[in-house]
Symmetry: C2
Subunit: 482 residues, 2 copies
């Protein structure tokens, strides 16, 4: 019993979400810290989530004609510094390789914080004619950003995993269209895989990617009213193609610079998933990212073990498509096992005891519900399948309700400030000035999350900026953020 | 026509294999060099091969109960240097991170050349009792080894991709068994996926992994008589568990050090595949690693385009399981297209012209054969499937014959030296002394490739070492190597 209590989460999510988070990620066996601050171990329980995202996203990419490749991780300093805005954005966080073996390198090498500057010299070689366009490549890679803020696992790692897509087009229109296509895939990763609702939209000028013409994002809202930036698609215009001389001859044999996009989604997605769904009993794993979707716990009473195990194995086999685990360890009590699997977010648990075998039913627990249900053995497979589907939908709907209840609108700074103080995300009409965003951040701790696509068509006639009282040019979400 | 010739490979494989190799990897669009020597771009045509290997090997791992994880890339110097032999083996090639942003780090960080020293401190935390064993993890990662030898793409990159498995067991017997299991999976990667025959065996004491008790390997033999070390599994004994304090309480509550293995296969496999199968027309891609297995080239004569394209699209659809490409570019001649796809190793090419549509047949070219075959449209799907299977088998058999013809036996140093001079791999009885291996290397340029499992049971009674004339303790292959 001591062990069960040690395993339990001591902090309540509703009381201190950041302490609760720190407990969940360790007790659900997702993460391990190392001697290097900000560099964490993705244990199998979390890495499997990333693998699910890879499989899901790769399928979208392949259908769209985007191919995977791999570019070197080390970027010579003279390349990293070629695009002016980009340098300013990234160099403060770059990890530098200066020595190899006993020798000092002639030029420092940056570990990629993102790969524009190592990829585009190659694009410049490869793209000669309009017939070489579009060029659409993606890579799955590790990146290092030596942030000096406090590292939080998944949320702010100094080394993290992501995919980065880098594409080049003959026209701005094609590039613009791709941005919306990719943001839609990111929405699907969150909503269809992780059951986390997101708000797609544009980043403000202040918050856009260093070197982009504009950035788009999908931002889930956590239960503490803070948004999480976790997937972004940037239209780079011709900024990088001019810096890296990525030119093509058009149909009239005239040289033109390409229009470029870059886009990425990272292991931060896992932070959004945990914050949204998990509870005071531990991790809640959305069924589609759980590699093992069912655990079977046999209740092994003396003299009846064989009968129970035989039935448990039979059920195991019938559920093979869900990669079930049979937890037949005889040294641990059923209670301990129940707690462990709940903590690790196992979507469905089946308990099978001798009486169950005799009466032809077993008990089923669904991770996000607080009840057990009786299921006939002959119905188990069908029920597991439908319960997993319902669980996904329920997680999504609950998260949507949570997000809606944490979202409000305001038309004055006073209203806006109160909303932020009460832990909400607030939609306001805004004039889009960079100075106003800085002042508001100073006064309220909130910055713009995104200019949501969903309100692009709402009329701005006679609508004034909530802060400057100048004519508003958009509706934007302000909120605190991770 | 000028373009076709430019595309052609100028060097003959049989005349200068290394120049030929350099041409193939560039003209088949596999690789691009960068400003950092030894750090190359894996273009989509080569990265897809690595993706096939990942999918194939992940399936073996999952079935065996090994889970994927991800450990940090940066290893603090004090950890890298904990195991004595290991340090000596790797530090001359380590890339060091010394600065982050503007700050100098307190301790230098090594970019992993391999991950024992970042993983095992965590293993020491995680493993407490015999009930925590075995612990079997794998990661897919990039590694950096700043070798000062001439870099050759795939063969010797300073940054390359690999998987590394790291496992811990209560007993040596279990660890030994796993080594054989993993080497068998590596054999399958080569033989069943890449159609490259390999020789599994033990490394000599001189050639084993720095810090291992013993190492095993699978070594394909290239057409120039050199072997390629590309997949190894090491039994680390208790060397690392003692250095990193990885202990467990056994069933009698006594503390014991674990027995460990580490094993890896890298993007070097791609070099082995290219050297074995490709020819003077370019890359030959074994069908199982070709994402697109068929290209359809419509022959578009004026006025007949619609009829031909309609048929080509129909064939495309029927072949969807082979991810066919329809090359309907109207600006390039069929001849140019044929050359391009041959160069890139496309396993099967179908040509469809107006006369073919009328007579109900099309022409099929199989990449490794020098002939065209007529195929009825209704038979295309079945024929493609069987031709791909036969192609795999043919590639394997041809490679096996090539390797056999390059392999010989010797019992004296004189015979051995002649065999090496004639570009062969040679099996000899050997006394396993480190000094003799060094002397032989000096005199012949050859070192031990492996002590093959296949001759372990051959009698050594009264057999003398070919070099020292002392009693032989094994049969070993000597050869030149990449």
């Amino acid at each position: 019993m001591a062990k069960v209590q040690e395993l339990a989460i001591k902090t309540k999510k509703e009381e201190n979400i950041s302490e609760w988070y720190t407990e969940v990620i360790q007790k659900a066996d997702l993460i391990e810290y190392t001697d290097v601050s900000g560099c964490m171990i993705f244990k199998p329980n979390s890495y499997q989530i990333w693998e699910s995202i890879q499989i899901f996203f790769n399928e979208k990419l392949k259908k769209s004609g985007i191919r995977n490749a791999y570019f070197p991780m080390l970027i010579p300093e003279h390349l990293l510094t070629k695009e002016e805005e980009h340098v300013e954005g990234f160099t403060p966080e770059v990890a530098w390789v200066t020595h190899a073996g006993e020798s000092e390198l002639k030029e420092r090498l940056a570990i990629r914080p993102t790969s524009e500057t190592i990829m585009y010299p190659a694009y410049s070689k490869w793209i000669k004619s309009y017939r070489d366009l579009p060029l659409r490549l993606n890579q799955w890679a590790n990146v290092v950003r030596w942030e000096f803020k406090h590292p939080t696992p998944f949320m702010r790692n100094r080394e993290f995993l992501w995919q980065e897509g880098h594409t080049a087009f003959a026209t701005k229109e094609e590039a613009d269209r791709e941005i919306l296509e990719i943001i839609e895939y990111y929405r699907q990763v969150y909503e269809e895989l992780l059951a986390v609702p997101v708000t797609p939209g544009y980043k403000s000028v202040k918050e856009k990617f260093a070197g982009a013409d504009y950035s788009t994002t999908i931002e889930p809202l956590a239960p503490d009213g803070k948004v999480i930036q976790a997937g972004t698609a940037h239209h780079l215009g011709q900024n990088f193609s001019k810096a890296f001389d990525v030119k093509f001859l058009d149909k009239d044999q005239k040289p033109q610079y390409v229009y470029q996009n870059s886009w990425g989604i990272s292991t931060r997605t896992i932070a959004g998933m945990i914050l949204t769904h998990s509870d005071n009993r531990g991790l809640v794993l959305p069924p589609k990212v759980a590699f093992n979707k069912v655990v079977i716990v046999p209740l092994l009473f003396k003299g009846k073990e064989e009968m129970v195990l035989e039935k448990a194995n039979e059920v195991m086999e019938s559920l093979s498509e869900f990669n079930p685990i049979l937890d037949d360890d005889t040294k641990l009590s059923p209670g301990f096992k129940f707690n462990k699997w709940e903590m690790q977010g196992m979507p469905i648990r089946l308990e099978i005891g001798p009486r169950d075998v005799e009466s032809g039913v077993c008990m089923m627990s669904i991770r996000d519900l607080d009840e057990k249900q009786e299921v006939k053995f002959e119905d188990v497979k069908v029920r597991v399948k439908s319960e997993l589907e319902m669980m996904h939908k329920r997680l999504f709907d609950n998260a949507k309700n949570m997000q809606d209840s944490l979202t409000t609108e305001a038309t004055t700074f006073d209203e806006m400030q109160k909303a932020i103080e009460s832990g909400k995300r607030v939609l306001v009409p805004w004039c889009e000035s960079i100075e106003s965003e800085e002042e508001i951040k100073e006064k309220t701790g909130a910055k713009t999350s995104c200019i949501p696509f969903e309100f692009e068509n709402r009329s701005l006639k006679n609508v004034k900026c909530f802060y400057s009282s100048k004519p508003a040019t958009c509706f934007v979400y302000f909120s605190k953020s991770y």
